[in-house]
């Protein structure tokens, strides 16, 4: 039996396609290389049952078995989300179907989320503020709903120590000048203060950016995919601000990390007049959990994104330089303190 036969049998026995129960010979699998070719990255295998035009399930497998713990974590996160939301999770996030061991590999099988990513939009979208207001507003409301539905009494009280580790890694990796080191120290204080009077914690998606948002073309509902960076947190800032930052980076023209960071910072400055306030208004005031002010939230998110591959997998990726440069640009961003 080949690995694809194994996947077909798994999909069939898990009930991915009840119409063809008992037979798995008709499954077709297509491989999509997810992200770059680093060993810590995953591959996705989309399963099409018996000649159907769209996949019914997706198998996620890490390139290296040593990094399979990431897949295990994503399965756990999605299971938690589905337990919290019940049937209302349908259409909002992929349904986890099972985690299985195959030799040294872990195979995470989930339902396919039909629809189109916002990254399939033409680049002109990023210059059309009216359409962007609509997209940003919908994203903010969908995110708020996810946060509120998972909000739980109690405080895990780990985020300030997490941010301390990120700030230390940022200094070790990028050797920032004294002004940025002082900014990091100030941010650590702000993060700690904001969380001191928190009563609830939420399931943070951890990678909430336009590429992970899928619009169901039939229902119009937004689904959020890729939950491997999700975690419990008393602070919603990372989800809220990563969306804005990543949208600006996506809209920036191609170039070096420094050039893209500069363009993204300029765009964020122009968005700060109407678009970002509209987005934050649509998200609303957090109910019992923390949300950093705009400038602090953007900076703290840049620090996390610049250090995440290193802290998670022990590797440095090229986009770390972009997030590091964006941190430097936004530190100089005046007049946006709230």
């Amino acid at each position: 039996m080949t690995d694809l036969d194994y996947l077909s049998e798994l999909a069939q026995t898990t009930g991915c396609d009840p119409a063809t129960s008992g037979s798995f010979a008709g499954w077709q699998w297509l491989l999509v290389a997810n992200s770059d070719a680093g060993l810590h990255n995953n591959v996705l295998l989309f399963g099409l049952a018996n000649g159907s035009a769209a996949p019914t399930c997706v198998a996620k497998i890490c390139r290296s078995p040593e990094a399979s713990w990431v897949i295990e974590k994503e399965y756990s996160n999605l299971t938690t989300l589905w337990q919290a939301l019940g049937d209302e999770a349908a259409g909002r996030a992929p349904r986890p179907l099972g985690l299985h061991r195959h030799g040294r590999d872990l195979v995470f099988l989930m339902a396919y989320c039909p629809g189109r990513s916002w990254l399939t939009e033409r680049r002109s979208l990023w210059r059309d503020e009216r359409r962007l207001r609509d997209r940003f507003g919908r994203a903010a409301r969908a995110l708020r709903e996810l946060h509120d539905r998972t909000a739980t009494a109690g405080q895990p009280s780990i985020t300030s120590s997490v941010f301390r580790a990120q700030a230390n890694a940022f200094q070790a990796l990028y050797r920032p000048p004294a002004g940025e080191v002082a900014e990091l120290a100030r941010l650590q204080t702000v993060v700690g203060q904001r969380q001191s009077d928190v009563r609830r914690h939420i399931l943070l998606q951890g990678d909430f950016w336009p590429g992970n948002i899928v619009v169901n073309t039939q229902t119009g509902r937004l689904a959020v995919v890729d939950w491997q960076a999700a975690r419990w947190s008393p602070d919603a800032s990372q989800d809220v601000y990563l969306f804005i930052l990543a949208a600006a980076v996506e809209a920036a023209p191609p170039g070096s990390p420094g050039q893209r960071a500069l363009a993204a910072a300029d765009l964020l400055a122009s968005w700060s007049r109407v678009l970002i306030p509209t987005y934050l208004e649509a998200y609303g005031q957090p109910a019992g959990y923390a949300l950093l002010p705009l400038r602090d939230g953007l900076l703290a998110t840049c620090v996390e994104m610049a250090t995440r591959p290193y802290l998670t997998f022990g590797v440095q990726q090229e986009d770390g330089l972009l997030w590091r440069a964006l941190f430097a640009e936004l530190r100089l961003w005046p007049g946006t303190q709230t």
């Binding site: 080949t2 077709q28 699998w29 297509l30 491989l31 999509v32 290389a33 070719a37 060993l39 989309f46 099409l48 000649g51 159907s52 035009a53 769209a54 996949p55 390139r63 290296s64 078995p65 040593e66 189109r116 990513s117 990254l119 399939t120 939009e121 033409r122």
Partner: protein, 186 residues
């Protein structure tokens, strides 16, 4: 796993997670026919064209591929798998911009059958066979789905949807930039 080719980076990557990686070139493979046991679960030739670049007989590929594929057949254990990747050949190869370096899936499939492989599955590779973003079975629905995703920014939308229709996608299978064939050993 046996890796036939010179991709040192790939061999290096795989060596991190797999123990039995033996980079070889065409001549070495043939020379080692008699000494290697038939014990490999997976024999991979990620870039068939590379084998031609090792030799002065590049104009007569069957003289190179024949012994190498026979070697691969002998080196695979029963139940093992052979993976072969190769660049596609533009159908109008006589045109100035035609690709004379690639092969058709039927051509490579024929060489594999002559080498003793019988159960072949054909895959398309986009954007190329060396580092494919998509690797998909050459079947109308799967090809249509991949083309729909790959051409995601093509406008107007009706043109993208029209190109991704299974019937048209099946016709487009001859025009792909890369292919792979997976052969099972019995």
């Amino acid at each position: 796993m046996l890796l036939i080719g010179s991709d040192e980076a790939l061999a290096g990557h795989l060596a991190l997670s797999y123990e039995q990686v033996t980079p070889m070139n065409a001549t070495q493979v043939v020379e080692r026919l008699s000494v290697e046991p038939a014990a490999f679960d997976l024999v991979a030739i990620p870039d068939l064209r590379y084998l031609l670049n090792l030799t002065a007989e590049a104009q007569r590929p069957q003289r190179i591929f024949g012994p190498v594929l026979q070697a691969a057949h002998r080196l695979s254990r029963p139940g093992g798998v052979l993976y072969v990747g190769f660049g596609g050949r533009w159908p109008f190869r006589r045109l100035p911009w035609g690709d004379r370096q690639g092969f058709t899936a039927g051509q490579v499939g024929g060489w594999l059958r002559r080498a003793g492989f019988s159960s072949l599955t054909y895959f398309g590779a986009i954007p190329d066979h060396r580092m494919p973003l998509y690797l998909f079975p050459l079947q109308g629905a799967a090809t249509g789905f991949v083309l729909g995703r790959h051409l995601k920014k093509l406008r107007p939308a009706w043109l993208r949807e029209w190109l991704a229709r299974p019937g048209l996608a099946r016709w487009g299978q001859a025009w792909l930039p890369g292919y792979a064939i997976v052969a099972k050993m019995y």
